[in-house]
Every structure is written in structure tokens, then in C-alpha cells.
């Protein structure tokens, strides 16, 4: 489809520009002007990837790296959340919604030189479906389980039925039932296609469980030989130091950028990444601390980019903890917190106050949910009318040792909110724990009353937000509201887009009346680059190709 059609004129234009520039440029020394793609870019990440096998990871840093080297059947529009062609040029969904027929891109080769074709696609799907033992561990195959459910052993039902390869360029995916979100989910980096030969040769599915019970992959596929079809291929990886990728010379698609060597360098602290950028040790980094926005924007050697707001930060209420089971108390909390002040103060102009548990960009967002403006007097009134004596005692927790796009500085948010709550009509017992695992453990087991948390979307679907939170009873929320559960169930399987949107809007209205928590912010997470980098296209789901980036 579109991609390859556009390729020729674009390359032509590029080669003309490059030739014109090459004429008077002294350095570089490449042979062909158009092929001059020998720039190096070092990008500061917050951590090492775990492993480089998309099927086995769920953390952002692994996905970021895998995304440069692998491609799936479909992808998202650059900078958006609309599904776009990738290895599949087009697709057809059967009437009953259970059969997906993909037409594949021709002439694509994996990094090891083997052919990409329908059999390779089915090989990958079958591999995922046949995961055994520790590969079924949710920390490994989280996204398979989220999207497709169970495995071939049949312990839990699976959405996946089979994959057929009638010819080289046609892959047919059969599902056990209709699903509205499968296509969008296939854009996830977790479902990118790897070389069957490399998977086999480097024992991608081999592993052993040691006496401690800890699973360790024994194969070297995911650490030394990740092999996809993407614009970059794996070169070397020294943990804690650098992951180096080089341009795939035989890449089938467009490669408009000029970065021939791409290095990901883990630097844990945001401020340390900024310093490395200022000192020239790196040329770009992700997850900029809001307090550094001003510094970056004020420095003409640097530039700040922002991703669209595709997340939500919220105060969770656990209704198992009294008096949070009383909707009047929840409303009083909502009116007592000055969300605008928090967002203005701590998000350096890159945040907006949230009124729902999903960002406005996602289909299903309702414009007319109940809103809770800052009004401490109203809080007092609500509490007194419900028969409470002020101040009402509640407990409230925040995580330490963490910075998330939706809460770059949890402690600052927490302190400001506590101050608001105490000023109005509550007495707050302050709690905290290190993010991972203590804090998350406590939240998931319902050990806190109020707590700070949030979510960044994986793909552009309402189910990925409100469905994750409220479709079943969860200890973190501590409520059992069948009306909401059913509304979300119904919306999830609806395949008609307009109806689906209405159903989700209705669900959002229900949710915000019930007020299971208080969403307070959608942010536009920041990325920083040196001024000579251009073409980077921030994406809502935080995965951006470097093959379109140019360094001067």
C-alpha cells in the first residue's frame, strides 16, 4: 500500500538534496551521496531493556529497543493511534469478525537474510500460542495473555485459534470469537515478527528453571541475536552501558533519517540524563523532569519535544477502607483537592486537569461527565450533611523512588494534596513505600485507602484504560458495582464503532458519578534533544522510530 508507493519519489528527492549538500561538504566521506547515513546518535534511556524478545517483555525500555529492530503486521500512524499498514499491506476482516486475512509486503528479508513470508508470520503466532512453563508467566507473556488469553494447553480459553499460510503473501488469523480490539493490539511491539530461523538456531524457547525456581532462558536469541525485519539491526549490548544497533542496509521500507549507528545508554536519573545531554555525552533522552523544561527551552543548543497526552494520573480510593465506601466522602475529597494548582505547579505547563479515567483523544471520551470543581466549602457541607464530624480521618499513600510520565514527582503531588485535604476537612495519615515492589504490592492488595497511581495507554482503545481499571472487582478499588462491570463488558465486545463509542461514553458517565477515584492529570511527557537533531516524531504510546531522525 501507501508506503512503498511513496518511497520512490521520496528517495529521489532525498538523493537530490543529499547530492547538493555533498558537493560542498568536506567531511563525511561516504561514497554515494544518497546513501550517506553514517551519523551516530546516543539516546539516554532510564534503564536497560530486560531482553530483546518482544514476546517476553512488557516494560517500556525493552519495547523501545525492540521497536527499532522489529516490525509487526500493523503499526500505528506515526505520532497517532490509528492503525496503519506495516508488514501487512492490507487486511480484510470477515463478516463474523473471527477471521483476519492479511496481505503481506513482498520482498522483505529478516536481518539474517531469510525471507519474510506468511509462514514466518504463522511460525511466530504458533510460537506464542505454544508457550510452555515459565513462558506462560505473566511477567513474560503479559500482552499475549491480555490480548489472546490462554495457550495451546487449554488451561484458560484462548482467543487465538489458528494461523494459515495459503501462499507466500497471505496470512490468515482465525479467532475463536469476534473481538473489537485485536487489530489495534496487533500494533503492539509484543506482536512483532521474528525470523523463524534465528528463533530456532539461537534457542529462543529454551530455558531452564534452576533449583531456586527462577527461570533463565538458556538460549542466546533474546540477548545476542534478536532478528527482525526493522530498520535497525542488533550490533552489541553491554548491560548498564550501551545497546548498539546499526542501520539495516537491506531495509525494505523508507529510511529517511541518517542515523547509521543508534546507541541506547541507560542513565537512571532524569537530572543525570539532562547533564549528560548538556555535556554532549548523549544527544537525546526520554522522560524529562518538568523542572528541567525551563532549562532546556532556555538553551538554544537543546530542544524539548512533547508527546501527546495519552495517560492519566489519579488518586485511587479503596472502598473497602471506611469511610471511602460512602460516595459523599469520595465527593468531598474530590472537591477538597485543588487539582488545577497541582497541575499548574508541578507539570510546568505540560499537563491538563483530568476529568475522566482516559484522555480526551481516545474514542469513548464523554464531554458531559459530572465534574468536581475545587470547593472546600462544598466538601465540608457534604461531610456534615452525611453526618460526619470534622475532620474525617483517612489514610493516603504515595510511592517513592519513582518517576512516571503521569507523576514525575509523586511526593510533590502528594504533599500538595495532603495540605489541601487537611486544610479543608480531613485528617490524613501519611503513608509511603518504594514504588516497586512494596507500593504496588500494597495497592494491589488493597492495603491503602487513598493512593496515587496512574496509567499510560498501550494502544488507542478505551478498553485499555477504563476496561483495565473497572471491568472486574479489584482489591485496589475495593468495590463491586455490577452496573459498571456490565457496561464495560458490553462495550468491549461491540464491533460497531459508533455504538461502541456511545457505550464507552455512557460507561464514563457512570464511572464519574460513582467516583471510584479522582483522575487529576493528563500530561504531555517530555523528550529532549540537542538542537541538531530533527525529524523525531513523538508518539502517544511512547514508541518512536529513529529511522526517520536526522542528525546534522
Amino acid at each position: 500500500m501507501g508506503r512503498s508507493a511513496k518511497l520512490v519519489p521520496l528517495l529521489l528527492a532525498l538523493s537530490l538534496i543529499a547530492a547538493a549538500c555533498g558537493g560542498n561538504g568536506g567531511e563525511g566521506g561516504g561514497e554515494g551521496g544518497a546513501e550517506e547515513k553514517d551519523a551516530t546518535l546516543t539516546f539516554g534511556t532510564s534503564a536497560d531493556p530486560v531482553v530483546l524478545d518482544g514476546a517476553l517483555v512488557s516494560d517500556g525500555e525493552s519495547l523501545r529497543a525492540i521497536d527499532q529492530m522489529f516490525e509487526g503486521l500493523v503499526s500505528l500512524e506515526p505520532g497517532g493511534t490509528e492503525v496503519a499498514p506495516a508488514l501487512a499491506t492490507e487486511w480484510e476482516i470477515s463478516e463474523d469478525g473471527k477471521t483476519y486475512t492479511f496481505t503481506l509486503q513482498e520482498g522483505v528479508k529478516f536481518h539474517d537474510g531469510t525471507d519474510f513470508n506468511a509462514e514466518a508470520v504463522c511460525f511466530n503466532f504458533d510460537r506464542w500460542y505454544n508457550f510452555k512453563g515459565s513462558f506462560q508467566n505473566p511477567s513474560a507473556s503479559y500482552y499475549w495473555q491480555t490480548v489472546f488469553g490462554g495457550f495451546s494447553d487449554g488451561k484458560t480459553p484462548s482467543l487465538y485459534e489458528s494461523c494459515e499460510a495459503p501462499d507466500e503473501t497471505t496470512a490468515i488469523l482465525n479467532l475463536t470469537k469476534a473481538s473489537a480490539s485485536v487489530l489495534a493490539a496487533l500494533s503492539l511491539t509484543n506482536f512483532t515478527i521474528a525470523s523463524p530461523e534465528a528463533l530456532t538456531e539461537y534457542d529462543a524457547d529454551e530455558g531452564k528453571v534452576d533449583a531456586e525456581g527462577i527461570f533463565g532462558p538458556t538460549g542466546t536469541y533474546a540477548t545476542e541475536h534478536p532478528t527482525g525485519t526493522g530498520p535497525y539491526k542488533f550490533e552489541s549490548w553491554t548491560r548498564g552501558e550501551s545497546l548498539t544497533m546499526v542501520r539495516n542496509e537491506d531495509y525494505w521500507g523508507e529510511f529517511p533519517g541518517n542515523i547509521g549507528t543508534l546507541i541506547f545508554r541507560p542513565i537512571a536519573e532524569g537530572s543525570a540524563r539532562l547533564q549528560a545531554l548538556q555535556a554532549g555525552d548523549i544527544q537525546g533522552y526520554d522522560l524529562v523532569d518538568p523542572q528541567d523544561y525551563e532549562t532546556i527551552e532556555g538553551d538554544d543548543q537543546l530542544q524539548l519535544l512533547n508527546r501527546p497526552a495519552f495517560n492519566v494520573g489519579y488518586v485511587g480510593f479503596n472502598q473497602k477502607v471506611k469511610p471511602l465506601d460512602d460516595v459523599a466522602v469520595r465527593q468531598a475529597i474530590a472537591h477538597a483537592i485543588d487539582r488545577q494548582e497541582v497541575v499548574d505547579g508541578f507539570y510546568a505547563g505540560q499537563g491538563e486537569v483530568a476529568h475522566e479515567f482516559m484522555p480526551p483523544e481516545v474514542v469513548g471520551y464523554a464531554d458531559d461527565v459530572t465534574q468536581y470543581e475545587y470547593d472546600p466549602e462544598k466538601s465540608k457541607q457534604l461531610l456534615e450533611d452525611a453526618g460526619y464530624t470534622l475532620p474525617v480521618e483517612i489514610d493516603f499513600a504515595y510511592p517513592t523512588d519513582v518517576s512516571r510520565p503521569y507523576m514525575p514527582d509523586p511526593q510533590a503531588n502528594f504533599e500538595a494534596m495532603v495540605a489541601d485535604l487537611e486544610e479543608c476537612c480531613f485528617k490524613v495519615e501519611k503513608k509511603s513505600a518504594t514504588w516497586s515492589p512494596d507500593y504496588l504490592d500494597n495497592v494491589d492488595n488493597g492495603r491503602y485507602g487513598l493512593y496515587l497511581l496512574g496509567w499510560t495507554g498501550d494502544f488507542g482503545d478505551a478498553d485499555n484504560f477504563v476496561g483495565t481499571f473497572f471491568q472486574t472487582e479489584q482489591p485496589a478499588w475495593g468495590f463491586n458495582n455490577q452496573e459498571i462491570f456490565e457496561a464495560l463488558d458490553e462495550a468491549e465486545v461491540e464491533t460497531d464503532e459508533a455504538t461502541r463509542e456511545e457505550l464507552y461514553q455512557e460507561a464514563n458517565r457512570l464511572i464519574m458519578d460513582f467516583l471510584p477515584g479522582l483522575p487529576y492529570v493528563h500530561t504531555k511527557p517530555g523528550l529532549a534533544f540537542t538542537a541538531n537533531v530533527s525529524g523525531y516524531q513523538p508518539s502517544p504510546v511512547s514508541l518512536e522510530p529513529f529511522s526517520i531522525v536526522t542528525v546534522e
Binding site: P138, E212, F215, T238, T244, R265, P266, D281, S436
Partner: protein
């Protein structure tokens, strides 16, 4: 001598065994578990239970300990939950980093500390003495990470003299046959790489070496003062021996004894300091590794890492004791 070493080595066995039990119990007593750490926001109760079962965390403690001990003895320290790599591989990569850092820090401390202390003692209560006392005082009073942060800000960010993070310029391709980057650079005969690695070591080593520097200076001063007052030194000088020869032959040599002790004792401190320094400079060594393991409940790493730390500490102290014999023949080993 050999017998002494063997006896010392045997004595370390109960210590290591006791430590392995302590560390094992500590790890099991920690709240939460690796399962949640693995899953992050996406954890559900179900998935957590599944992982714990897989990790064998539902077995009785003694059973878990014994199987753990059996593995250690066979040289298998387990695998890291977060990187899914064997601990032994991780150690191979991270030990050289920390060793290089600690060695440079110690080199700095000794190379600057001994002359400083010596001069201070020779000019007892003079200006130089006071200057060196104040300098060492400042060294001791600064929190390591505060010093590291300030140095990094001034020398790397503002002045741009030194790199801010890491062990090496990552765009440089250098083979790492040994993992000791300085050594690797020499093997490769790559002078530029050697300088690059050295530049990456300067600030972390100074930050880490400041406290040992201060202590070495103080101890040298005290020791030299002691020795200067000894009869045999006075006698030698009274007999008209060249004072510089007396200094070299008697004073420094005898003063080295307490200094060596302190250097040995400082190893533990260096390892502690390494946790902080490595964090500030994103230096991929043992300190930051174990810190993260404790944060993220990486059981095998905590256990393997702390045992390794302790083992190193014991070995260094043994070396210190042995070096006594060379410095002071009066000490006999039975």
C-alpha cells in the same frame, strides 16, 4: 606462614556460612516479592501467585535454604529475576568495574594521603600540618554523594572537562576480553581508549577516595609522629646518619604498618561508598547493582552480591594481615 593462611581461610568458612543464613533470612523477610517487581502496574493477585509458585517461594524455608546452599557450593549463584541472567555472568561484568573504581580511589587516597600525612608530621603543628588537617576534615565531613553531585555539576556540566556518566564513551568500539577496561585498552593497544576510560574514572575515584584519603593522611601523620619519637630513630639521628636515609629506612617503613591496616579496613567503606558513587555517575558496578536488587527484590542478586562483597572483604583483610609479615618481621605467624 602457609599454615597461617590456611587456618585463616578455614576460619572464614563459618563466617560465610553464617552470613549466607543471615542474608537468606533477610531476603525472605522482605515485604513484597519479586513477582510484583516484575509486573509493575500490571500486576494482579493471580499473576503474582503464579509467579511465586514458579519461583519456588511457596516451599518451606529450610528446604529453600538447603537447595540454595547446594547451588552455591556447585558454583551456581542462581539467576537475576530482572535481567534473567546468571548471577555469575553479572558478577563477571560488574566486579571489574567496581574493582577498577575502588583501586583508582585507593590509589588516589594513598598517593595523596601518605605524602600529606608525612609532611604534616614532619611539620608538626606548623602551617602545613594545619592545612592537611583541615583538608582531611573537609573530606570526612562531606557526604560522598553530595561531593559527587557537586563535582559532576562543576567539572562535567559547567566546565565540560570530564564526562558525566559511565565507564567509557559508548560510541567507542573496544573489545572487552577482561572486563577491566583499562587493561582492555592496553591489550588493544588503544591509547585513546585508555585515556577515555581514565577520564571516566577520575571523578568517581576522587569522590570515592576522599574519605580514605583523609583517613590515610591522618593515620600516616599519627604513625610518623609515633615513630619519630622512638628511641632507635633518635639514636640513628644522633649517630649522625643522613636524616633522609633514616626517614626512608626506619620512619616510613615502620609507619606503613598502621597505614596498611587502615587501607584494609577501608575496603568495606569503599564498597559502601561505591553504592553512592556508582549511582551518581551511572557507573555499572556492583554497588548500584546490589542497591537495585534490594529495591526490586531480586533475591538471587541480593544473596549472591552480598556474599561476594563479604568474601572480598575477608580476602582483602587476609592480604593485609599477610602483608604485615613483610613490613614487620617481628610478627610471627604460627
Amino acid at each position: 606462614m602457609l599454615k597461617y593462611i590456611v587456618r585463616r581461610l578455614i576460619l572464614t568458612v563459618p563466617i560465610l556460612l553464617g552470613l549466607s543464613i543471615l542474608v537468606f533470612l533477610f531476603v525472605r523477610a522482605l515485604p513484597g516479592g519479586p513477582a510484583i517487581a516484575l509486573l509493575g502496574e500490571r500486576a494482579t493477585q493471580e499473576s503474582v501467585e503464579q509467579i511465586e509458585e514458579e519461583l519456588g517461594l511457596d516451599r518451606p524455608l529450610p528446604v529453600q535454604y538447603l537447595s540454595y546452599l547446594r547451588n552455591i557450593l556447585s558454583g551456581d549463584l542462581g539467576s537475576s529475576v530482572s535481567t534473567r541472567r546468571p548471577i555469575v555472568d553479572e558478577l563477571k561484568q560488574r566486579f571489574p568495574a567496581t574493582f577498577e573504581l575502588a583501586a583508582m580511589a585507593m590509589l588516589f587516597a594513598v598517593a595523596a594521603g601518605i605524602p600529606l600525612g608525612y609532611v604534616a608530621a614532619k611539620r608538626y603543628q606548623g602551617v602545613l600540618d594545619n592545612v592537611s588537617l583541615v583538608a582531611s576534615l573537609i573530606g570526612i565531613s562531606f557526604p560522598v554523594f553530595f561531593l559527587a553531585l557537586l563535582m559532576k555539576y562543576v567539572f562535567a556540566v559547567k566546565l565540560g572537562w570530564l564526562p558525566t556518566v559511565g565507564r567509557i564513551d559508548v560510541t567507542r568500539s573496544l573489545e572487552h576480553p577482561t572486563g577491566f577496561y583499562l587493561l582492555d585498552a592496553i591489550i588493544a593497544g588503544d591509547g585513546e581508549a585508555f585515556v577515555d576510560v581514565l577520564e571516566h574514572l577520575i571523578m568517581p575515584a576522587i569522590a570515592l577516595g576522599t574519605i580514605p584519603l583523609a583517613i590515610v593522611a591522618r593515620i600516616t601523620r599519627a604513625a610518623v609522629l609515633d615513630v619519630l619519637g622512638e628511641d632507635y630513630v633518635r639514636t640513628a639521628k644522633a649517630k649522625g646518619l643522613d636524616p633522609s636515609v633514616v626517614d626512608r629506612r626506619h620512619v616510613l617503613r615502620n609507619a606503613m604498618l598502621p597505614v596498611v591496616t587502615v587501607i584494609g579496613l577501608q575496603t568495606g567503606l569503599l564498597l559502601t561508598g561505591a553504592v553512592l558513587t556508582e549511582t551518581v555517575f551511572s557507573f555499572p558496578g556492583l554497588g548500584s547493582w546490589i542497591l537495585n536488587a534490594i529495591r526490586f527484590r531480586d533475591y538471587a542478586v541480593i544473596q549472591g552480591g552480598i556474599l561476594f562483597f563479604a568474601g572480598m572483604f575477608i580476602v582483602v583483610n587476609l592480604l593485609v594481615d599477610i602483608s604485615y609479615a613483610f613490613l614487620n618481621p617481628r610478627i610471627r605467624y604460627r
